[in-house]
């Protein structure tokens, strides 16, 4: 073949290629553009007869980077239908890929969340939060709250997972837990704190720093004995789930106990009452630096041992008063105090979970992992004897 012929063939090929790629309608449709989408930041799901979907969406407004938020609620027979209806309601395609939080209503079954993951664009890493009753209401309140504080991001829970003592769960993590041998899972319950005049101003300031601060702030102040007033979010309780749906909500102490074992908490405040030299010092606070959890199961004795090793950094006047650095006795007293405090939280978690027949500490899962035959034949969640061993390291 001469070079000229070859060149001619190449030219024709290039032309054909360009023609095919450029003129087939599917590739040049403009429906794909960014502007034909609406970004959904928070999605609320309600179960029941009909599936309700509430979306908090963001719209760019005139100025650079400025946005306006709003909510819309739709219903459908199935989740897919509801999501489809959402797009119709918004007039454009709802972009769920950027959604960072899913609010789960009271009647939602875990199966529905499985559908959410596989059938929609929602990614596996979205954080879950439970509403006390209707997700629709909570999304609405959250939107109002975010509008008020000017918060741009909706990942409060993600913040909580990293920076404070909140047991969090992502969509895939939740489903994975439900599917495990323990058949249990959990998600934090978000409630809105209604105004109390005294502290509203202060909370407003906090909100201005970004939505993320709010979760931990509410939590932290609650722990320190304040009323936690002001407009903000309260993320303290924990909703427990089985494959059939929500089992119930456990209180703050139990929730903290679950967080110790089952959530990758890194930071957060721990408080304890320390008894040194016969004197009781209440509410010594410390910051958690790191924790290691080890669950051991013993099939023979039908018992389990949860070992928690927490590295903490005590701080504040009360700690200074004790001055643990200089006295070994004080140091021991502090360690004892904190280990007692943590243990009581763990026990609270165990007891409240047992009340609902749920296993958020995943004892059953551990039994199944290491002694599967025993788990399948003899295991009975109620009869397992759980022991706690808390070790405190002061930095």
């Amino acid at each position: 073949m001469t070079t000229q012929k070859k060149l001619l063939i190449y030219k024709i090929l290039i032309f054909v290629f360009a023609f095919i790629v450029a003129f087939l309608p599917t590739t040049v449709s403009r429906s794909r553009e960014v502007n034909s989408r609406v970004i959904v930041e928070i999605l609320g799901i309600d179960g029941g007869e009909e599936i309700g979907v509430t979306a908090q969406y963001v719209m760019p407004t005139g100025a650079q980077g400025a946005t306006s938020k709003d909510t819309v609620s739709v219903k459908g027979k199935t989740l897919q239908e509801a999501v489809e209806a959402l797009s119709t309601a918004l007039g454009r395609r709802a972009e769920l890929g950027h959604c960072s939080m899913v609010i789960v209503g009271e009647n939602v079954e875990p199966e529905l969340l499985g559908t959410l993951m596989t059938a929609t664009d929602v990614t596996a890493d979205v954080y879950l939060a439970a509403a006390e009753s209707k997700a629709e209401e909570l999304v609405g309140q959250l939107t109002d709250f975010m509008k008020k504080t000017g918060a741009t991001d909706a990942d409060f829970i993600a913040y909580g997972a990293k920076k404070s003592h909140v047991a969090t769960n992502t969509l895939l993590g939740f489903l994975c837990d439900i599917g495990s041998a323990s058949q249990s899972s959990f998600m934090p319950v978000v409630t809105m704190i209604e105004n109390s005049d005294k502290q509203s101003a202060q909370s407003g300031d906090d909100g201005g720093e970004g939505g993320g601060g709010e979760g931990s702030q509410g939590d932290g102040s609650g722990k320190q004995g304040g009323d936690g007033g002001g407009t903000g979010m309260n993320v303290e309780k924990l909703a427990l789930y089985s494959p059939d749906g929500r089992l119930g909500v456990i209180d703050k102490d139990a929730a903290r106990g679950v967080a110790w074992v089952s959530s990758p908490i890194e930071k957060g405040i721990v408080t304890a009452t320390v008894q040194a030299d016969g004197e009781t010092v209440a509410e010594v606070s410390a910051r958690l630096l790191k924790k290691h959890v080890d669950i051991k199961t013993y099939a023979k004795t039908n018992s389990a041992k949860i070992k928690v090793r927490a590295i903490i950094e005590p701080r504040g006047d009360k700690f200074n008063k004790l001055d643990a650095k200089n006295s070994a006795a004080a140091s021991k007293a502090i360690k004892d105090g904190f280990s007692k405090a943590i243990e009581s939280e763990l026990r609270a978690a165990k007891e409240s979970a047992a009340l609902y027949g749920c296993d958020p500490l995943f004892i059953g899962k551990t039994f199944y992992r290491y002694s599967p035959d025993y788990f399948e034949t003899e295991y009975d969640a109620g009869s397992v004897d759980i022991d706690f061993d808390v070790e405190i390291v002061i930095k």
Partner: protein, 389 residues
């Protein structure tokens, strides 16, 4: 003409250098093993997927060992010359035709996987029938040019692939998976068996390496390095399968083709890093393109030998047309795709051929070495002519 080829400096006296051979082995070891295969394995086997992957990988590695031996012992003559010398012309062509069919089958699986990955993960609406043209365009270029160009391309790309893998591995290790989720192992032998069955269609990833016989400049440790890179590539693939098994082992129903490494990482790192994982995955998917390009090249050269003509552009175009039809009408259809890769026929034929091809090549090389003193008639094959290009 031949004279000129040997002149090509001491850098590249042959089509591939030892380093390029090693790099290609690494890519072949992990490219398709990290795409859809882990998902299929998890769907079939649940949390034991990584064991299946390791067993399948061990089989492939054994075959890799045979291929490396063939390449290192081959001397100057390429596969087609050896086949002709050992079996005679007609038998050699028949055997090569079977090779070509196998390569084409593997090519189809590779391409289908790459397209599925993009269709399900990266694009919201991906029209395979149109976008495959971009890939075919690249394939024609690969078919037209030499093996040397492909080897060089791979050598150029491999640092990017390795860096992306390193990023992905770091993300996985840093964010901390509950790897204990893979326990207990082997609770369901039936599922395990069906997993092995699934894997079989993916075996034979190293078969295109037979093209390197007689065309690689081997040094003392080339074989050793090749084996090491194969093993390390396979370890990476098994590691990622392990991670995915740990994440999805409890809920295998949730994995579908839109779930792969990328979504797992997404889950583990969250939106915090702005989807850096996706970029890495896209960059790393380049390795699958290279693997499929190698299968394409192998198919084309086998066809060239069978029909006895060196019309590389024409043959590439022909194979592309076939590929287009098989992809658009069969492979993109999920049911047909999974039927093809899970049918008994392919589950038996693929591993058989994956074993036969390297073994046959090694036998040819060994017989060829003995016969070498005898006649030294260079059969005019596609490769010899191309080498002198």
């Amino acid at each position: 003409m031949d004279n000129q080829a040997t002149n090509t400096d001491k850098l590249e006296t042959k089509q591939a250098t030892g380093k390029q051979f090693t790099a290609i082995i690494f890519i072949l070891a992990l490219a398709t093993k990290m795409f859809l295969l882990p998902i299929f394995l998890i769907q079939a086997t649940g949390r034991d997927a990584y064991i299946v992957m390791a067993i399948g990988g061990a089989f492939d590695l054994a075959m890799l060992g045979v291929t490396i031996a063939a390449v290192c012992l081959s001397g100057e003559r390429n596969l087609f010359e050896l086949l002709t010398a050992v079996f005679g012309k007609v038998a050699a062509k028949t055997i090569t035709a079977v090779f070509a069919l196998f390569m084409f089958f593997k090519l189809n699986i590779c391409v289908a996987e790459a397209l599925l990955f993009y269709a399900d993960n990266v694009f919201t609406d991906f029209s395979v029938s149109v976008l495959i043209f971009v890939l075919l365009f690249f394939f024609v270029a690969v078919g037209k040019h030499t093996l040397r160009a492909l080897c060089r391309l791979n050598e150029l790309i491999i640092p990017i692939v390795v860096v992306c893998l390193a990023i992905l591995i770091t993300i996985v290790l840093m964010t901390g998976f509950d790897l204990a989720n893979i326990f207990p192992s082997l609770r369901d032998p039936a599922a395990f068996k069906s997993g092995l069955f699934r894997h079989s269609a993916w075996s034979g990833d190293f078969t295109p390496l037979i093209l390197f016989i007689g065309r690689t400049k081997t040094k003392k440790f080339t074989g050793l390095f090749g084996a090491a890179s194969g093993v390390s590539g396979m370890c990476v693939a098994v590691f990622f399968t392990l991670v995915m098994s740990a994440a999805f082992g409890n809920v295998p129903v949730l994995v579908d083709t839109s779930t792969n490494l990328s979504s797992i990482l997404q889950f583990s790192i969250g939106n915090v890093y702005g989807r850096i994982d996706m970029f890495s995955s896209v960059l790393w998917s380049v390795s699958v393109f290279i693997e499929s390009a190698l299968f394409f090249y192998a198919t084309c050269r086998c066809v060239a030998f069978v029909i006895g003509k060196n019309a590389h552009v024409a043959i590439s175009l022909g194979v592309c047309v076939l590929l287009y039809f098989s992809q658009v009408f069969f492979m993109t259809d999920q049911t047909i795709f999974s039927f093809v890769v899970t049918s008994y026929a392919s589950a038996i034929a693929t591993p058989t051929l994956a074993a036969v091809i390297p073994l046959l090549s090694l036998v040819c090389v060994l017989i060829g070495r003995k016969k070498h003193d005898g006649s030294m008639s260079p059969a005019q094959t596609g490769m010899r002519a191309e080498e002198s290009k």
